[in-house]
């Protein structure tokens, strides 16, 4: 879940509040945290990864502020380690059985598909419950049945309609996630437009086709003019890289447009409204340059890229706080969570709320 876009509430104060979201982290301090995380994780054969996760998340949560109040990440390393061990046991079971007993592996795969909606729910529940703003925690109240329909059945159905239903299915998923988010006792209400999703999908489709043609022409020209490139392997790598770039460009544009649409149509009843002014072209450029920087620096530019992205997302977000809002009551028990949530969280069902 991307925290840069986390929602907010304000109750005190008397004037109308329009608040920008600030990200106060910097590449330098995150670089050391990131690198030490990696070093300790490898040195402890993965055990430290639980601590690394907490420090990583807290860095981005704590540096994201609205109205001078920061977010907190509440999970403890012990919770994450416990869940990770269970998940690892499941994963090991699957890997061992599929390498040594391929038939058992297939059965486990089917079982996994059935469990998937449950895992997605538990994962969302955990990550929202572990998110706190001003001593009030978020929560997620989705049900197995709805997750099964929205995350599994509809996307499969859309394949049989030549993907014509896909934008609608994606809208259903986004609407389902957001309409089940709570901040304390306040529910998030999101009204998404199917038309908008089809429009966005159409724009992205045109972009993909256009870029594909451009890439084809470029490859053709380079292929003719430069005989050095006749080794098929090099061309293969080039084509792969271009495909990769096209995917990044189209995915970024999609994300930016969808984010703007979701934010503009979401409200915490009587508490806060949102606005997102993320220009798709800016976001595309950011992701392309980030990817190039990471590849060229052999990964060392990762912290810089991540901080840069967080800054852009925060800067593009505005929150309108309702001065007359009642107090928001925290509905969660401190840091309690169920073991199932902790375990499911490890499968990293990373559903971005951007």
């Amino acid at each position: 879940m991307d925290l840069e876009s986390k929602e907010v509430v304000e109750t005190t104060g008397s004037s109308t509040h329009t608040r920008e979201v600030r990200f106060t982290g910097d590449a330098r301090s995150y670089f050391s945290i990131w690198l030490v995380n990696i070093l300790f994780t490898i040195a402890t054969l993965g055990i430290y990864s639980a601590w690394a996760t907490v420090r990583n998340k807290q860095y981005f949560f704590g540096h994201t502020q609205i109205d001078g109040h920061r977010f907190d990440y509440l999970a403890t390393p012990q919770q994450i380690l416990k869940g990770r061990l269970l998940a690892l046991a499941c994963f090991a079971l699957y890997v061992v059985s599929s390498s040594y007993f391929p038939l058992v592996g297939i059965v486990l795969l089917v079982a996994w598909c059935i469990a998937l909606p449950w895992v997605i729910n538990q994962g969302l529940r955990f990550s929202l419950r572990m998110t706190r703003y001003r001593n009030v925690q978020f929560s997620f109240k989705g049900q197995y049945k709805d997750t099964l329909i929205n995350f599994v059945l509809l996307p499969i159905l859309s394949v049989f309609t030549l993907y014509l239903l896909l934008p609608w299915a994606l809208k259903r998923i986004d609407a389902y996630i957001h309409n089940n988010i709570y901040y304390g006792d306040k529910k998030l209400t999101t009204h998404l437009s199917t038309k908008e999703y089809y429009l966005i999908a159409f724009v992205c489709f045109c972009m993909a086709v256009g870029l594909g043609i451009l890439a084809g022409i470029a490859a053709f020209v380079i292929g003719i003019s430069d005989n050095l490139l006749e080794t098929s392997q090099l061309i293969g790598v080039g084509i792969l890289f271009m495909q990769f770039l096209v995917v990044i460009i189209v995915a970024s544009a999609y994300k930016a447009m969808v984010r703007n649409h979701i934010f503009e149509n979401s409200t915490f009843e009587g508490v806060a409204e949102f606005e997102s002014n993320l220009a798709p072209i800016d976001y595309v450029l950011l992701n392309v340059t980030n990817t190039l920087a990471i590849v060229c620096s052999l990964g060392l530019a990762f912290p810089w890229a991540k901080v840069r992205k967080a800054k852009m997302l925060a800067a593009a977000t505005v929150v309108h706080l309702n001065p007359d809002a009642d107090e928001v009551i925290n509905m969660q028990q401190a840091q309690q969570s169920s073991f199932a949530e902790e375990a499911a969280n490890v499968f990293d069902v990373d559903i971005s709320l951007t």
């Binding site: 990696i38 420090r55 061992v96 040594y100 391929p102 001003r134 009030v136």
Partner: protein, 339 residues
């Protein structure tokens, strides 16, 4: 004695008030704007995560939470606090981590994991090996093999040669089984499964039709794979490295993408090159030991690789995991001379 201004968030709601925190003599005192005071012993409070550029929050026993305004403020006099933060601020450590990380990764994935996998395989019970072999064979049969078209008289000839070899090697005839299959996927090839099933494709039979002694050499090579438990070792290796990758890279964002694919592929290649040499040695040794020529194996390799260009696809699959054919032919010929 420490003193810092900050916000006190009330327990269970989003309300907050400005206040001042005093820390002295093992006692925390929080003084609010309205002069109300809260006093708590130091050992009853709960400290949040200490991280660069962020204030460390202090949770009081009643669930309310104090957040200092000064982001660099850290509560003193609690032992062990801030060790991680100190590490992250240590320039020497951070710089050396740039070099230590790749080094440690190499050690873990190329030294520790392979040796662990190899020793784990020797502990596997026979029933596991049997089940593994059977199930793999079932899948391969379904996906890539079709009934043989080799004529029965030739099959009988090869089977006789096979039985002959098993007798000479004093191997269990219940365990070792030879099967003929037609396969477009494998081309001219032979392979062994861990439980002793050896598969020879029709194309290979056709190619070595005039050289039964070369086919014998190939069969010995495959038996070598089984005797050394190579498939089980490959499986163990891939299991161990997959799990290790999952553990180590579970949360190392950005690194996984770079290393995941490359590392495991290279490791497997390395592993199977050693294995091929080992199986070659088994074949060469036993050819010489039972009165045949190690050069037969060289003949087989030459024949199998003769018209590679026409079967590029089938062969690139096979060759990618095999040492250079030229080298292997050379070794087979030298093996003979050395005797």
């Amino acid at each position: 004695m420490q003193k810092v201004t900050g916000k006190l968030y009330s327990a269970g709601s989003n309300a907050s008030v400005n206040c001042i925190l005093h820390n002295s003599n093992g006692q925390i005192r929080v003084v609010k704007d309205d002069d109300l005071e809260l006093s708590v012993p130091l050992q009853d409070i709960l400290l949040g995560v200490a991280i660069a550029g962020q204030a460390q929050d202090i949770t009081l026993p009643d669930g309310s939470r104090f957040l200092p305004d000064d982001v660099s403020f850290r509560l003193t006099s609690l032992s062990g606090v801030g060790l991680l933060e100190r590490c992250e601020r240590h320039k020497g450590l951070v710089l050396s981590a740039i070099f230590l990380c790749p080094l440690l990764l190499y050690l873990v994935f190329f030294v520790v994991v392979p040796s662990m996998a190899a020793s784990a395989v020797t502990l596997l019970p026979n029933s596991v090996v049997e089940a593994t072999g059977r199930q793999s064979m079932l899948l391969i049969e379904k996906m890539a093999l079709e009934p043989t078209e080799v004529d029965p008289t030739q099959q009988d000839k090869i089977n006789a040669l096979w039985q002959d070899s098993l007798n000479q090697l004093k191997l269990d005839k219940e365990k070792y089984r030879l099967g003929f299959y037609r396969s477009d996927f494998f081309g001219a090839n032979a392979f062994a499964l861990p439980h002793g099933q050896i598969v020879v494709t029709d194309e290979l039979v056709a190619k070595l039709a005039k050289h039964p002694e070369a086919l014998r050499a190939v069969l010995l090579h495959e038996i070598g794979h089984v005797e050394h438990q190579h498939s089980m070792r490959i499986a163990a290796q891939s299991v161990a490295s997959t799990i290790a990758l999952a553990v180590v890279f579970g949360d190392l964002q950005g690194v996984a993408e770079l290393t995941l694919g490359v590392g495991s592929v290279i490791m497997q290649q390395q592993f199977s090159q050693d294995m091929e040499s080992q199986a070659d040695d088994y074949a060469l040794h036993n050819l010489e030991a039972h009165g045949y020529k190690a050069a037969d194996f060289a003949t087989a390799l030459k024949l199998m690789s003769s018209d590679r260009s026409t079967e590029q696809d089938a062969w690139s699959k096979y060759l990618s995991t095999h040492p250079q054919v030229g080298e292997r032919i050379e070794r087979a010929l030298n093996y003979q001379r050395a005797k």
